[in-house]
């Protein structure tokens, strides 16, 4: 009996088609990631999930103690903490509002930068600057600068203060500083927010679309110009060319950029919830921080899956599968 099934198995395996055999090679290609996931990330991932159900305390002699407290962390965040729900709602709202703007803007700019014109290289270099700034390190330096200046400007630097402050972060750091101060002094930031918000949003869109522009640019490079040539011969206008050729061919990367924008908006350095998580970490509340991160992660994942699902129906792949 056993022998028979083994023989059948063997036959079955023998019957693998060429494509199926080839598909098994896929594992070779993804193996670095899979190995890394099993060796490193899985443990970290499980730890983080475990921490969210525990009261974790760092011990002075190194290492940490943990105590199981069930859903208390989650209860604390969702029911007791007055800010978290509000921040979560705000984060989702921002994300939904910003993503269409960012993706359209970056596609538009990428198409512009892909055209033949003088000084293209310089413009591309300039539009690359936001990619560098996207990690937030310059922002961080500027913020500490603004605070420093607020201190330094107190004794008799009235004339210079504004200039130095301005130089700290450019156009908007004045407003940033005011906002910061108002929040520190417990002023309602609502009024400040409205004025700052209008000006800042343009700036925010520009600064958070550097990556997307570069991805689109590389994608546009890959579209063969022979397609455009033959379309032109057929009498295709620039407008038609864009919608009938560029748009479908770039659509896989539109999906990437939407996914990236969602993730960036959720996990970016400007996000308030990320601040709460980092702060909780700094205060040593690892349990609370992990729980926050998990709630946040699940919310982000839901949006990612829903939006990704709908968008991917409109993505055009050249391969018929």
């Amino acid at each position: 009996m056993n022998k028979l099934s083994a023989a059948i198995n063997k036959k079955e395996r023998f019957r693998l088609t060429v494509t199926q055999k080839r598909d098994l090679m896929g594992w070779v290609f993804v193996s670095p990631f899979v190995l890394g996931f099993l060796l490193l990330f899985l443990g970290i991932f499980i730890d983080s999930l475990r921490f969210s159900f525990m009261d974790v305390n760092l011990l002075t002699q190194g290492g940490f103690s943990e105590k199981f407290i069930g859903l208390d962390n989650y209860h604390q965040i969702l029911r007791v903490d007055p800010n978290f729900n509000k921040q979560l709602y705000g984060a989702v709202q921002n994300m939904l509002f910003d993503i269409p703007i960012i993706v359209m803007y970056s596609l538009f700019i990428a198409v512009l930068l892909n055209m033949k014109m003088k000084g293209r290289g310089i413009f591309r270099a300039i539009f690359f600057v936001p990619v560098i700034l996207a990690t937030g390190i310059i922002d961080k330096a500027d913020l500490s600068n603004s605070i420093m200046n607020a201190y330094q400007s107190i004794p008799g630097l009235d004339t210079g203060a504004s200039i130095v402050t301005e130089s700290a972060g450019g156009m908007f750091s004045n407003l940033e500083l005011k906002k910061y101060m108002f929040q520190m002094l417990d002023f309602s930031p609502a009024l400040v927010n409205i004025t700052v918000g209008a000006a800042e949003n343009i700036f925010a869109v520009i600064n958070s679309s550097g990556v997307q522009i570069l991805i689109f640019l590389a994608g546009l490079q890959a579209i063969s110009s022979s397609i455009y040539e033959s379309a032109k011969i057929e009498g295709c206008s620039a407008w038609e060319c864009f919608w009938k050729i560029t748009f479908p061919l770039i659509s896989p990367l539109i999906l990437v950029n939407i996914i990236y924008s969602i993730i960036d908006s959720f996990t970016g350095s400007k996000n308030q919830i990320m601040h709460s998580i980092t702060n909780a970490m700094k205060l040593g509340q690892y349990g609370t921080a992990s729980a926050m991160a998990w709630i946040y992660f699940l919310v982000a994942a839901v949006f990612l899956v829903v939006i990704g699902f709908f968008v991917s129906r409109f993505v055009f792949y050249q391969n018929r599968e």
């Binding site: 899979v34 130095v164 450019g170 792949y317 050249q318």
Partner: protein
């Protein structure tokens, strides 16, 4: 009639190119403005900085800020270290992500969708949440407990290039999941016929990958390299975690100049204290400028897309 049409055409073209330039210049100005202010600021002497009448063009041009910053942060050491680490992880991440992306785009093995969702998951989880675990992993580095059985202890990998190299190799460097995602989508967009033609001609899987796919995706790979290089360059998360002794530019920038005292630079602040904000500005510039130069070089290859790879057309 024909001349008139051509004329209209030319005017139309001119009109659009003017609009295009206006738009691009306007946006470029918005992007560059903070950097320009920093630039003019960095050449100003302390007298200029507190003088309200001096704007943008320094009255007393000085290299003082640059000299101080370069000396205080041992800039060139930090520069070479940062360059080394960024280059290393850029290259490794580029290769690994291309491979994994290809694997996800072109093969229909079982469990592919699971692996794909895991990739997205790794980008989605805020790195702050696994900071402690990651730190522990690399402070007491071990492979399945193999090392402690043979050499009798774990290895401390802090302040070496190993953590970044290992993380890059297994696809968990800074935003690595994103690169895999980009490559996967990119490969999905490339027509399969190219590879099929190669198979028909008797080329094997790996040969096809290296001879057809890699040249084809050169511009995308350079993009990935540029991303990972510049993000590693300005990363403060991993670098402050792994490198406390090792000099890196991002760490020097974030530590700042607050405690710095200088002879003869007093300005009615604390005694002997320079205007630290200006120094931080100068340092930000010094961090950003090498990246822009690298980008200008890489750009040359970015522009050469599929046309120059000699496969299509």
């Amino acid at each position: 009639m024909r001349a008139k049409y051509l004329n209209l055409h030319a005017i139309n073209g001119l009109f659009w190119s003017v609009i295009r330039y206006l738009l691009l210049i306007g946006l470029a100005f918005l992007i560059l403005y903070p950097l320009l202010v920093k630039l003019s600021n960095s050449f100003m002497s302390p007298q200029d900085l507190i003088d309200g009448t001096v704007r943008f063009i320094p009255r007393q041009f000085t290299w003082f800020n640059y000299k101080t910053v370069i000396e205080y942060t041992s800039f060139f050491k930090g520069l070479s270290n940062t360059f080394g680490i960024s280059f290393l992880s850029g290259i490794i991440q580029m290769l690994v992500c291309t491979m994994v992306g290809y694997g996800l785009a072109r093969f229909n093995f079982k469990g592919k969708s699971v692996i794909f969702s895991l990739v997205v998951l790794t980008i989605l989880i805020p790195p702050q949440t696994y900071m402690i675990s990651l730190y522990m992993k690399f402070s007491f580095f071990d492979l399945f407990g193999l090392m402690s059985t043979f050499t009798g202890g774990t290895v401390r990998l802090m302040d070496s290039m190993w953590p970044m190299a290992i993380l890059s190799m297994i696809g968990f460097g800074f935003k690595n999941g994103l690169y895999i995602l980009i490559m996967r989508q990119y490969f999905k967009g490339i027509p399969k016929e190219l590879e099929e033609a190669a198979y028909v001609d008797g080329s094997g899987l790996f040969r096809t990958f290296s001879m057809i796919i890699l040249p084809l995706s050169f511009s995308m790979m350079i993009t990935i390299f540029v991303f990972s290089f510049s993000w590693q360059w300005t990363d403060s998360f991993y670098s402050s975690m792994f490198f406390s002794q090792f000099k890196l530019l991002s760490n020097s920038l974030l530590v700042g100049f607050e405690g710095l005292m200088l002879e003869g630079a007093t300005l009615g602040l604390k005694h002997g204290q320079p205007l630290t904000a200006t120094l931080t500005n100068t340092m930000s510039l010094l961090v950003v400028i090498p990246l822009i130069i690298v980008y200008l070089f890489a750009q040359k290859y970015l522009v050469e897309g599929i046309e120059h790879s000699g496969i299509v057309g």
